[in-house]
């Protein structure tokens, strides 16, 4: 009972915050500029749920608890409730969501200061947390879907937050619609479960899902995976995420790095027993994940917009997580979700801090009337920021090292575990896992390179913005640096919950024990023969080497030479570089094969068809009627006597028929 009310509070607080920050200022404009009030309420309604989640976590004894509030909808044999499940997986996700969420809310107080939409921003952000909590806590697919679409909505609203620029709104539309494509598949998967199982409750789906016939399972899992590709930006639905960087940076950190984009992984982990029953589709997942990882990593190397680099890096890291899911190591995927939330959150917030600073420079340039236009996100105009923004630089470096997989930092443990699991699955007969492993290693190298590039171009070297001798950015206020440090430290130590079995003799891998062992809700692929200890050590060394060599390569290229190395690489790789810089021209391809045909078809074919063919037939009936009456109207002479003659003949006819008929 106590847990029930805590869960209720946990869910309702962010919602109340959204209402308070959104509806009240909407109708009472004087409230709109009360930044302290709005910021405090907005942050508190996420921070308190974090404390609640921590309390629940501390008192958790390994037994899942379901809080069933009320029946959402019931029709015929179908019934679904607002029920929430507190177990290992949902608690972990809740902690990440509210913890990172609260930090980012705090960060936003500083970052969004002075924006006329301050209130709106916090309302959307609170609403996002509410939706995300529904997503991770829901006890059935439909509540999960409620959160799933809810976060999509908030993502749409926040990407297009600065709506006066149509580009931002267009990016929002793109995100929403691409997500909807995924949701379409998700819906179909739910229909399959309802038809075959008669319920969407996780307990029943997990228990009875694997007993459906094989092709049905395959379809269901494939559709779920397509749903996940939409939300988690995988091939083929990944192109919305880089565009989503149009939103304010805290949004990119919270939604498009730490939480929302990982919900596809969460969903697969939640339904892991069903996914495991479809080995064919797991191959697909592993391959798609691996391809996404390398495709995004290659693009990331060529981008100049600091947020775009991080966005493609996110896509790439999500690809890793899908590799983990594909080889049946769902808990590792969740582990990487967690560490990724730390270091990518930190990176995005750091980039936000940098942008904040560069904005200041741009502002000063304008004020002095130098007439320079400066894109505050373009790394080509940065450099040497280390001197001016020490906290930002240090935390950014920590996170960069973590994501690159430098040994003993958080990213190292989770990424290494993914590669190990892929290798292990490969040795036990899953051929797609070999592919994923090789691609994963290459991507690990690329990751280190592009992250080193981003770091060195931004913070090291000499400043490249105009009048750098006179103008320089300042370090951001404490509301911005505090979250940076917290996340920076977490990206260092966050990995120690998942120390590989070989180092810690299995007992230290807390996350595996917590999620997948004992009562844990996450299933894993059964492995018949374990890899030998020596091999495992070898893999760890290999992974570390790849990361270190990669980072070292990046350092050599970009520490001194900066932009010159870009030019050198571009000429060296020629066509490939162009392809990467053009993002494989996927957007252009979609424009050509999907958007143009649909929209053009609607405008050039369907609408005219409706107007001239369907409606034309209706009007044709009218014209025919009119044409007939045009002839017949000549009967209407207007002469009474001609009508009388007709009557007489009519009478004679009738009488004649009566007499002789």
């Amino acid at each position: 009972m106590e847990t029930d009310s805590l869960v209720r509070l946990l869910l309702l607080l962010p919602l109340a915050g959204a209402v308070f920050n959104g509806i009240l200022p909407l109708f009472i404009p004087s409230l709109r500029h009360r930044e302290t009030l709005i910021g405090t309420v907005g942050t508190a309604v996420v921070a308190v749920p974090f404390l609640i989640a921590a309390y629940l976590f501390a008192g958790f004894h390994g037994e899942a608890h379901v809080a069933n509030f009320y029946t959402w909808m019931a029709a015929g044999d179908f019934s679904v409730s607002f029920a929430y499940r507190v177990d290992q997986l949902s608690l972990l996700m809740t902690l990440v969501v509210t913890g990172v969420g609260a930090l980012i809310h705090l960060y936003s107080v500083g970052y969004m200061h002075g924006d006329p939409g301050f209130w709106r921003f916090f309302a959307y952000l609170n609403l996002f947390v509410f939706a995300m909590l529904n997503l991770v806590l829901g006890d059935n697919l439909l509540v999960l879907f409620l959160g799933w679409e809810g976060v999509g909505l908030c993502s749409y609203l926040l990407i297009g937050f600065w709506y006066t620029d149509l580009k931002n709104s267009a990016a929002g539309n793109k995100a929403f619609i691409m997500n909807r494509v995924g949701d379409f598949a998700f819906l179909l998967a739910m229909f399959i479960f309802v038809k075959e199982i008669g319920s969407l409750d996780f307990a029943r789906v997990i228990a009875e899902g694997p007993t459906m016939d094989q092709s049905t399972i395959n379809w269901a899992v494939l559709l779920l995976f397509i749903g996940a590709t939409g939300k988690s930006a995988q091939i083929p639905l990944f192109t919305w995420l880089p565009d989503a960087m149009a939103g304010p940076t805290p949004v990119s950190a919270l939604i498009h790095a730490a939480t929302m984009v990982t919900s596809g992984l969460y969903m697969l982990a939640r339904l892991s027993p069903v996914v495991l029953a479809a080995p064919a589709i797991m191959n697909v997942i592993a391959i798609v994940g691996a391809l996404t990882a390398i495709v995004a990593a290659t693009i990331a190397i060529t981008q100049n917009d600091i947020k775009k680099v991080l966005a493609y890096s996110t896509v790439s890291q999500l690809g890793y997580m899908f590799v983990a899911s594909g080889v049946g190591a769902f808990f590792v995927a969740i582990f990487h979700v967690m560490t990724h939330a730390f270091f990518k959150g930190c990176l995005f917030l750091g980039s936000g801090s940098v942008i904040h600073g560069m904005h200041h420079v741009e502002h000063e340039l304008h004020k002095d009337g130098h007439g320079h236009h400066l894109d505050p996100q373009d790394m080509r105009t940065m450099g040497g920021l280390k001197k001016y923004m020490p906290s930002t630089q240090k935390t950014f470096l920590l996170a960069t090292l973590a994501i690159s997989g430098i040994p003993l930092l958080s990213g190292f443990f989770s990424k290494d575990e993914i590669l190990f699991k892929a290798f292990e699955a490969g040795t036990t007969g899953m051929s797609a896992a070999w592919f994923a492993w090789v691609v994963g290693l290459v991507t690990a190298f690329l990751t280190a390179v592009y992250m080193a590039r981003a770091y060195y171009l931004t913070f090291e070297g000499t400043p490249r913005w105009p009048h750098a001798d006179k103008l320089h950015p300042h370090e951001s206020p404490w509301t911005i640096t505090t979250p940076l440090w917290v996340l920076g430290i977490l990206s260092v130590v966050g990995g120690y919950v998942g120390i590989p079995a070989v180092i810690g003799h299995g007992e230290y891998n807390l996350i595996h024990h917590f999620l997948a062992g004992g009562h844990g809700p996450v299933a894993e692929r059964a492995v018949e023969a374990h890899v030998s200890l020596g091999t495992e050590w070898g893999l760890i060394v290999l992974g570390s080497l790849v990361a270190i060599v990669g980072f070292w390569t990046g350092r050599r290229l970009y520490l001194k030479d900066g932009l010159a190395s870009d030019a050198a690489l571009a000429s060296r790789f020629g066509g490939a570089w162009k392809l990467w810089q053009g993002k494989y021209f996927v957007d252009e391809l979609y424009e050509k094969i999907v958007v143009r045909p649909v929209i053009g078809g609607a405008e050039k074919a369907f609408a005219p068809f409706d107007k001239y063919v369907v409606d034309g037939m209706v009007n044709a009936v009218g014209y025919v009627t009119r044409a007939i009456s045009y002839v017949l109207r000549y009967l209407q002479t207007g002469l009474v006597q001609s009508y009388a003659v007709a009557i007489v003949f009519g009478v004679l006819l009738v009488v004649g028929m009566m007499l002789f008929g």
């Binding site: 109207r633 000549y634 209407q636 002479t637 207007g638 002469l639 009474v640 006597q641 009388a644 003659v645 007489v648």
Partner: protein, 101 residues
């Protein structure tokens, strides 16, 4: 020579046809109205004749109805004729063709 029923009927038929021809061929509205009266009275004649020959008074009663309807019709008809004459200064039916296509 006895005047049988047939004689009355023949006379009525002749009157009726004259009335029909009058309605169809004359152009003066008043004459047309008079022709209509003629048709009605032809019918009246048959009614009375049948009534007499079948010894049933119902036919004669019907005649009164017809006469009253005829009177009403004449009144309305003439009123319309006067109204038309006032506005169009003619009572020639071939000139009154407002409903021509």
């Amino acid at each position: 020579m006895e005047v049988t029923l047939n004689w009355y009927l023949t006379l009525a038929a002749v009157l009726f046809v004259i009335g029909v021809m009058g309605v169809l061929l004359r152009r003066n509205v008043i004459v047309i109205l008079m022709s209509v009266e003629l048709m009605l009275n032809a019918v009246n004649l048959t009614l009375v004749a049948f009534s007499q020959s079948m010894a049933d008074p119902a036919g004669q009663i019907l005649v009164f109805f017809v006469m009253s309807v005829a009177a009403a019709e004449a009144a309305v008809g003439l009123a319309i004729v006067i109204a038309i004459f006032r506005s169009r200064l003619t009572i020639d039916v071939t000139d009154i063709n407002l409903f021509r296509y």
